[in-house]
């Protein structure tokens, strides 16, 4: 059912759509994924959480989209909001950004003083309170800085602008990183050399049961 649009709203909408069309029609790519499919349900507290379990959470986001400031995705292995204008949280596209992805995969609490673990449904639209920079500096009770040479799978490497989690180590000393890389990249596993880069520091989620 299509809701009838009140006249004043229609005028504003027409003006907005015209200006957007003239400005290159950025909204032509707007899919309103989060509005149509995501929810704000409460997460489930979990008394046991492992690195393996978080890997599975992360893998379900693989091949989904990237949304700056976002944190909601399905698991159909496709970006439902390709080509969204970048760096706009109001495009309501599918997927997390790098810090929102880490927050959800690490199953953290919105309360930064709480180390507890919460299972967020993938369609729960939540970004969490941390930026990449705040992860880098170990902000929040669940997060701590950690020497890079000692990082293992499901630890993270963060810079002031980006964060990715270690998926596996490679024989040549590089790492496979699972990350939300950007609008054109989405979420996936790539080989990266963040560990040796002086722009990146080590971050560890505390409290793993295994």
């Amino acid at each position: 059912m299509t809701r009838r649009i009140p006249a004043p709203v229609a005028v504003v909408a027409s003006a907005l759509s015209l200006s957007l069309a003239l400005a290159g029609s950025a909204w032509a790519y707007h899919t309103n994924f989060t509005g149509a499919y995501c929810n704000y349900n409460a997460p489930d507290y979990t008394s046991y959480f492992s690195r393996d379990g978080s890997m599975t959470v992360a893998l379900r986001a693989r091949w989904e989209g990237y949304q700056w400031g976002g944190g909601c995705w399905n698991d159909d292995d496709a970006d439902q909001s390709p080509g969204d204008p970048v760096e706009r949280s109001d495009t309501r596209g599918e997927g997390p950004d790098c810090s929102g992805f880490t927050f959800k995969v690490w199953r953290e609490d919105l309360d930064t003083s709480n180390q507890g673990a919460w299972q967020w449904n993938m369609l729960r639209n939540v970004h969490g309170p941390y930026s990449a920079a705040s992860f880098l500096y170990g902000v929040g009770a669940p997060n701590s800085t950690y020497p890079k040479s000692g990082l293992i799978r499901m630890d993270a490497l963060a810079s002031a602008n980006h964060i990715g989690m270690i998926y596996a180590r490679n024989a040549d000393g590089s790492d496979q990183i699972i990350e939300a890389k950007g609008e054109a990249y989405g979420v996936d596993i790539w080989t990266r050399t963040y560990r040796g880069s002086s722009a990146y520091g080590g971050v560890r989620r505390v409290g793993w049961d295994a």
Binding site: T2, I5, V9, A10, V12, A13, S14, L16, S17, L20, A21, S25, A28, Y29, H30, N32, F33, G35, A36, Y48, S50, D52, G53, T56, R60, W63, N74, D76, D77, A78, D79, Q80, S81, P82, G83, E87, D97, S99, A132, K148, I152, R153, A168, N170, A171, G173, S174, Q176, K181, A184, W190, T191, R192, T193, R195, G196, S197, S198, G202, A210
Partner: protein, 469 residues
């Protein structure tokens, strides 16, 4: 994951509206914004429901590559899949078997993987029997999600293209000691430079909030010294001939994300697309940029493309194998790729290079048809990260490895010869912008080239390894 996306899923895209259609969709979008998501307005995508999570099964493994005489060898794997329904734990209920054999011809022997709960990495493990581990051996693993019976074979070629570990007797020890930062060698010459921008000779920079800057992903150097830089942001290559100040551009039909580059010179350019719906994908271009063909790669992750004896080869994960994508001009299908995968990178028809970082040392070897010909163990008191380059050079190998602390990093260039360390020097990382992870260096003859960047632009510096008279 070993099982690639189906081609239909991989290629599914939402239709892109443009031009006049943009106004219509724009209005619909505006209505959605103003009325809220409950409006059910035009433009809602048809989203399929979530897929069955039990399909997820992935495994990772770090191959030993080079083993030492008497060294215990344990093959370790991590397996990821959803926990069984009703489980109070959240790990995969996994099991697996490793099949090992001495050398490359004898029958495989099955070794059950056992869960090592104390291990941080590689929690499913099997010790290789000493009588097998004392020589070269090959192996593959089958890992299962016991809850639903799905399985993954690693490497995916299984018995037809197993992983292989090489016994390195008589390794030459090389001690680098602790690294002293700040003593880096200056370049012999700047072979290429471009400022960031969108002009004809500028290099494209991808950046934004919550993203590190991404610059040109890779480069190659021709036999004549011409440098070709992959300016993927602008969908082109930038070419600068040796001794010429001007840069010419070659348009390429690529998707604009981080990609690797190989070939060039008198042959075609090969671009490895690593991101996007169709990735990983290898694309061939003529010297003028004309598209020649595409080769889909049936792997989870691909990181490097290089030119092997018969055509381009791609480093793939999680197998950690080099996979030929094209042989003698013909593209290989996914099954043929899996069956032709090799554990080491071929540098000629009869020689391969093996490299592995093990803790605080890097093991390097030249491997021929008869096994390891010469091997080195390079130890550093300062942590080493990735090996950027390992190429045959003179009577040994030229190695470039990143050395780092939590605050600093440099590249260490190490020339290894028959007697051990021949020369070493350090280079500044010059890594302001991200590139493909393992494509910052190229060796052409006796010249080492480095792809670097600063906040003002990108460059390729040359470092002559031999003094010219």
């Amino acid at each position: 994951m070993e099982t690639p996306r189906s081609s239909t899923r991989a290629r599914r895209r939402l239709p892109l509206a443009a031009g006049a259609a943009g106004a219509v969709v724009g209005m619909a979008a505006a209505a959605v914004l103003l009325l809220g998501p409950a409006s059910g307005a035009v433009g809602d995508p048809a989203v399929p429901s979530a897929l069955d999570p039990t399909r997820i099964v992935d495994a990772t493994h770090v191959p030993p590559v080079l083993t030492l005489p008497g060294e215990p060898v344990t093959l370790r794997y991590d397996v990821y899949c959803p926990p069984p329904a009703g489980s109070t734990r959240d790990e995969c209920d996994a099991a697996g078997t490793v099949y090992v054999r001495p050398g490359g011809e004898s029958p495989f022997r099955a070794l059950p993987l056992r869960l090592d709960r104390r291990a941080a990495d590689g929690r499913w493990a099997a010790r290789v029997p000493p009588d097998v581990a004392r020589s070269d051996f090959s192996y593959y693993a089958v890992l299962r999600n016991r809850a639903v019976g799905t399985a993954v074979t690693l490497p995916s070629g299984g018995a037809a293209a197993p992983q292989r570990a090489y016994a390195a007797a008589g390794t030459i020890p090389v001690e680098l000691g602790g690294h002293t930062f700040g003593r880096t060698r200056a370049a012999t010459e700047r072979a290429f430079s471009a400022t960031w921008g969108d002009g004809p000779a500028d290099a494209g920079l991808e950046r934004g909030r919550e993203a590190e800057p991404v610059g040109p992903g890779s480069f190659v150097v021709g036999a004549d010294g011409a440098v070709t830089v992959l300016d993927q942001v602008h969908h082109r290559a930038l070419v600068q001939a040796a001794g010429v100040a001007t840069v010419r551009d070659v348009p390429l039909d690529i998707n604009g994300t981080l990609a690797d580059l190989a070939g060039g010179g008198s042959g075609p350019l090969w671009v490895l697309e690593t991101a996007g719906p169709d990735a990983p994908m290898l694309k061939e271009f003529a010297r003028d940029g004309a598209a020649q063909g595409e080769v889909p790669l049936g792997t989870r992750t691909a990181a490097q493309v290089r030119i092997g004896p018969s055509g381009p080869i791609v480093k793939e994960y999680p197998s950690e194998q080099w996979v030929p994508a094209v042989e003698d001009g013909a593209a290989l299908g996914l099954r043929a790729q899996r069956r032709a995968a090799e554990p080491l990178r071929a540098v000629s028809a009869t020689r391969q290079v093996a490299v592995v970082r093990v803790g605080d040392e890097v093991r390097v070897a030249l491997v021929g048809d008869g096994g390891v010909e010469r091997a080195w163990r390079v130890h550093s008191a300062t942590p080493m990260a990735e090996v950027q380059l390992a190429e045959p050079y003179a009577d040994g190998v030229l190695l470039v490895v990143r050395t780092y602390t939590d605050a600093r990093a440099e590249f260490e260039v190490v020339q290894l010869g028959a007697r051990g360390l021949t020369t070493e020097f350090a280079l500044a990382t010059e890594d302001w912008a991200e590139t493909m992870p393992l494509s910052r260096f190229r060796l052409a003859g006796s010249v080492l080239y480095q792809l670097g960047s600063t906040p003002s632009g990108v460059h390729v510096d040359r470092f002559d390894l031999e003094v010219r008279s």
